[in-house]
Subunit: 153 residues, 3 copies
């Protein structure tokens, strides 16, 4: 088991199997040293753990947990692609969408659920650029969708 996965295990986080794409695409593509993941929702074992919109169905704390699940799915994809998460040299960029009612404007605090986890497990190389935006609806009712770009060794 790699260092990063050991750290995740110590935090009680088990990397799931690679999430099955919901449609005609694949989980990740590498070009040069960059790996792009597909957008991931807050799904576990094929079921949405959180569903609905921030500002109506979910609190910021629940959104934070949903973002954590989304990024764990991104990590599962990376592990599937790279063999080991220790091969991640740098987390480059996140783009995070938060399903929101038109008045909810705390998206950054939701996407922190993903960013905080990355910094905890990768340290300095987990620090990334990021955009967090709201939207009126996301696929199948997921409250959060996150895509990720990483640089690999």
């Amino acid at each position: 088991m790699g260092k990063v996965e050991k750290k995740l295990q110590d935090m009680g986080i088990i990397i799931p199997d690679v999430p099955k794409p919901a449609a005609s695409y694949i989980p990740a593509v590498q070009t040069g040293k960059l790996v792009y993941t597909s957008g991931q929702g807050s799904i576990k074992d094929g079921i949405l753990v959180y569903k609905g919109k921030l500002g109506k169905d979910l609190t910021v704390e629940e959104g934070y947990e949903a973002a954590k699940i989304s990024i764990i799915n991104c990590l599962a994809i990376l592990k599937g692609h790279l063999g080991s998460l220790d091969r991640v040299k740098r987390v480059v960029k996140l783009l995070g969408f938060v399903s929101s009612v038109p008045e909810f404007d705390q998206q950054p605090y939701v996407i922190n659920g993903a960013s905080d986890l990355l910094i905890k497990i990768f340290g300095e190389k987990g620090r990334h650029a990021r955009s967090a935006v709201g939207t009126n609806i996301l696929p199948f009712g997921t409250p959060v969708e996150i895509e990720m770009i990483v640089e690999v060794e």
Copy 2:
């Protein structure tokens, strides 16, 4: 005529002229081996073929067709930039926005209109990472907007 364009022609698809940007930007920029296209709507000959929102004005099938038109516009841009679509080495990434009422959550099935076409014409190298998200409104009422990153030879 290149192989990829021949395949498109056999499917009855003619690559249009490069869509004229609606504003102060250009259709594509290359950096190293990556080409980034600007976001494309479901426009043909300067006119929106489909207009409106999923869940109200358009069925999923119509949205699927709209996504197909958007990606054909991305291909037109690539052809304009590269000379031939045969120079595409790999489709890396799509980001697809679907104009949706707040209850419509089937965005992946809409953006499949783009993904399915890419796989049909490029085969394995057409398989890509992707995010599909909803939004409340897109420019000029287009139901779909798609941007694309490809790796070139």
Copy 3:
């Protein structure tokens, strides 16, 4: 003072200090020759200069100014990262989100506030690929959020 900054000064634009991230991320990450900025809103000195949604609270002209402020924040980040804006070799890509009521579909004219400024100060190398989309809400009520990819020397 670099050439690009001199040009900005002649236009009456002073590059501010690097905007402090609102959450757990950093302003920019470089991988190879590409620099990715985090998404920037229309904030100046820690305060939102424009707030609200296009089609309700702001005119297109005000949105255009808001986009200008967002891209100046991106430039501040780049200056902080690169030392001098003269090291920008090419503006590659913008992704611009516009907080909009569901009927407002003039997002491209809003994001032009960013694109026009880039072309004015960088000339040919300021020409970029771009997507402009609407959304129902953005962080803390910013009307515009823009992220940027540039290639550096």
